[in-house]
């Protein structure tokens, strides 16, 4: 089983000159040369971007991609991926992506944003893009907080979670409830694929890659909007070590934001 999963990795079977050895992992070709992530230590953005790059490599679509990123830690995608990218104001990545796709229907268009961007300031744009069934792919990194500004209460902050703007923890009277993005997007008729994945363990990372690939595939097949919500850790703003942060994803987040595929019209 593990063998098969590993075969999804790029460059498998390429003999790198090591005597009797085969390279089973390498940096995806779609990454920029000599990139160096500017994220905090242990941040899952790095893994998510790598998975996106691996999928782009496997589908052979790098040269056809025009991506759109908006504001937040996610914006720096364009410093790491060797794909065309247009910036959008905070929350408007999917409006921008709609414009790109309508102007160039032959291109592969994707957005990469955080939960604040996708599901708070940009919820109208995100949901209407799904409702219109735009043939674009979108990834939303859910780390239950606003990471770039230092860990404030966001749309996905969990009940009881302490942030710099919910110092006594999120409670329903004062702050209301978090949004379950993947389920909401799955309810939109134009959505072809909606899934939630996590990056806290190798099996979950493998599942995440499959979902990312599927979200691109529904676009390539012209089926509609492809969406993946990626549960991600934010060790810095959670005040945890990277490993503790992944334990929180595993033990707390997944209970609130269950993993799974919520819609797949191709299934």
């Amino acid at each position: 089983m593990q063998q098969q999963e590993l075969k999804e990795g790029v460059n498998i079977g390429v003999n790198a000159g090591e005597k009797g050895m085969v390279q089973v992992f390498s940096i995806p070709k779609s990454m920029k040369e000599n990139f160096r992530y500017t994220f905090c230590p242990g941040c899952d953005h790095g893994i998510a971007i790598r998975l996106v790059a691996e999928v782009i490599d496997e589908l052979g679509i790098r040269e056809d991609i025009i991506s759109s990123t908006s504001v937040g830690c996610a914006v720096f995608l364009y410093d790491f991926l060797e794909v065309d990218c247009v910036e959008a104001p905070h929350g408007r990545a999917l409006a921008s992506a709609t414009g790109v796709k309508r102007a160039r229907p032959d291109k592969v268009v994707f957005t990469y944003s955080g939960d604040g961007d996708f599901a708070s300031i940009g919820l109208a744009e995100s949901m209407h893009t799904a409702l219109r069934g735009e043939k674009v792919t979108s990834f939303c990194i859910n780390n239950t907080t606003y990471g770039m500004t230092g860990g404030q209460l966001g749309p996905t902050t969990m009940m009881g979670q302490v942030t710099t703007t919910s110092p006594t923890g999120r409670n329903k009277e004062y702050f209301g409830y978090p949004i379950k993005v993947a389920e909401h997007i799955a309810l939109c008729d134009g959505t072809a694929y909606s899934a939630r994945v996590a990056l806290d363990s190798v099996p979950h990372i493998n599942e995440a890659k499959k979902a990312i690939k599927k979200a691109f595939q529904v676009q390539l097949d012209g089926l509609g909007f492809g969406f993946v919500e990626i549960l991600s850790s934010c060790p810095t703003n959670w005040h945890m070590t990277p490993e503790e942060a992944h334990e929180r994803v595993r033990n707390e987040m997944i209970k609130v934001f269950p993993l799974g595929v919520f819609k797949d019209v191709s299934a």
């Binding site: 959008a88 408007r92 790109v100």
Partner: protein, 376 residues
């Protein structure tokens, strides 16, 4: 029906803008309804589908302008249209588009403000259009048509200038012009196609990946970028500033207006000339870049100016800035609604020629009311 022939057709301003956009090669329209510009979107909805071009009923003006940004980033021509309070929603994107150097084309068919206002025509968005409602140092190119024919001509020009200078460009019309029917001819799109291949996003095939963005985490780069934008606008000002002058040579007093009000100051000028008064007209076609030099040369010749606007004195400040205090600049205005009539302007100007007092004129009356009285 309107097409590319040179024949004149009777057509509404909003429809003229829409058809001109089609002729100019606008591939994508994104919009959200708001009176008094809704006809632009209505006209284009069917036409764009017929032509196999893109049309999206956006979820909001925020969505619409950002869709335009996405579309034009790929090198195609695209536009949106809206009106005053909804153009306010687009200011953030215009600031981004300026920094990203995206050739966004936006039509603002002005209604009344501030706030929701009402659908009365007005010219209250001059400041927002010319000085920008978004953050940071940026400038739009702003073109102000005064006739339905100019709705066509300046729409053509807007698409050209936007791509030529990679600068967001606004057509600043008003409700009067949008709803007015007048003869206009379209003809072919008169400008050359601009080569966008050096920057447009088309997928990183056979070249390095391109990114269009406004954030520079390096201070020097950010500073240089703002200088570059500024220098670009100086070139635009040098090359593209346009205006009209009528009878200014022998005039003692020159009326200054933009957009639809140009029509009424021209008529008032004719009435006053018939009465033996030496009156001329001046009208900026580009509000940004503004024709400072041309107005200064009028001032250098000692001609007093009367600015006539449907707002509380927005272009007035630019005119005063241009003439550097050398001549008297008076002001005739109404904030919105019933357009200042020719009679009202004539009366006001005659009065100004005697007393040099600015006027704010209440509707429904030819009688002038002084600025202070109008406010009280």
């Amino acid at each position: 029906m309107a097409d590319k022939s040179n024949e004149k057709v009777l057509i509404k301003g909003n429809y003229a803008i829409a058809q001109a956009a089609i002729n100019a090669g606008c591939q994508c329209y994104f919009g959200y309804p708001i009176t008094p510009q809704t006809e632009i979107g209505e006209y284009l909805s069917g036409k764009m589908q017929e032509l196999g071009r893109a049309y999206v009923c956006a979820e909001s003006e925020l969505g619409a302008i950002n869709m335009v940004m996405g579309a034009v980033s790929t090198g195609v021509k695209a536009m949106t249209s809206s009106s005053s309070c909804a153009v306010s929603l687009m200011q953030e994107a215009l600031s981004y588009a300026s920094s990203d150097e995206l050739p966004v084309v936006l039509v603002n068919v002005m209604r009344t403000g501030p706030g929701l206002g009402y659908i009365y025509p007005a010219q209250g968005d001059y400041n927002q259009a010319v000085y920008g409602g978004g953050n940071g140092d940026y400038k739009l190119i702003v073109l102000a048509p005064s006739t339905v024919q100019e709705c066509v001509d300046l729409t053509y020009r807007a698409f050209y200038l936007a791509q030529k200078y990679r600068n967001p460009t606004m057509i600043l019309a008003d409700g009067l012009l949008g709803q007015m029917m007048e003869p206009a001819s379209f003809g072919e799109y008169p400008y050359p196609e601009v080569d966008v291949s050096s920057w447009a996003l088309t997928g990183a095939k056979g070249r390095d990946a391109r990114k269009i963005y406004s954030v520079a985490t390096d201070e020097k780069k950010q500073i240089q970028h703002i200088y570059d934008l500024h220098k670009k606008f100086e070139v635009i000002a040098e090359n593209e500033t346009t205006y009209e002058e009528f009878n200014t040579e022998d005039a003692d007093i020159v009326l200054v207006a933009f957009g639809s009000m140009t029509r009424n100051i021209k008529a008032a000028m004719n009435v006053l000339r018939a009465k033996g008064k030496k009156v001329g007209c001046f009208r900026p076609v580009t509000l940004s870049p503004f024709p400072y030099k041309a107005l200064k040369s009028l001032a250098d010749k000692g001609k007093d100016l009367v600015v006539v606007e449907m707002n509380m004195g927005q272009m007035l400040k630019d005119v005063k800035y241009a003439v550097e205090g050398k001549v008297n600049v008076s002001f005739v205005s109404r904030p919105c609604g019933e357009w200042l009539s020719v009679e009202e302007i004539v009366d006001a100007v005659e009065d100004i020629m005697v007393s040099n007092t600015s006027k704010s004129i209440q509707p429904g009356s030819v009688k002038e009311v002084s600025y202070a009285a109008a406010r009280a």
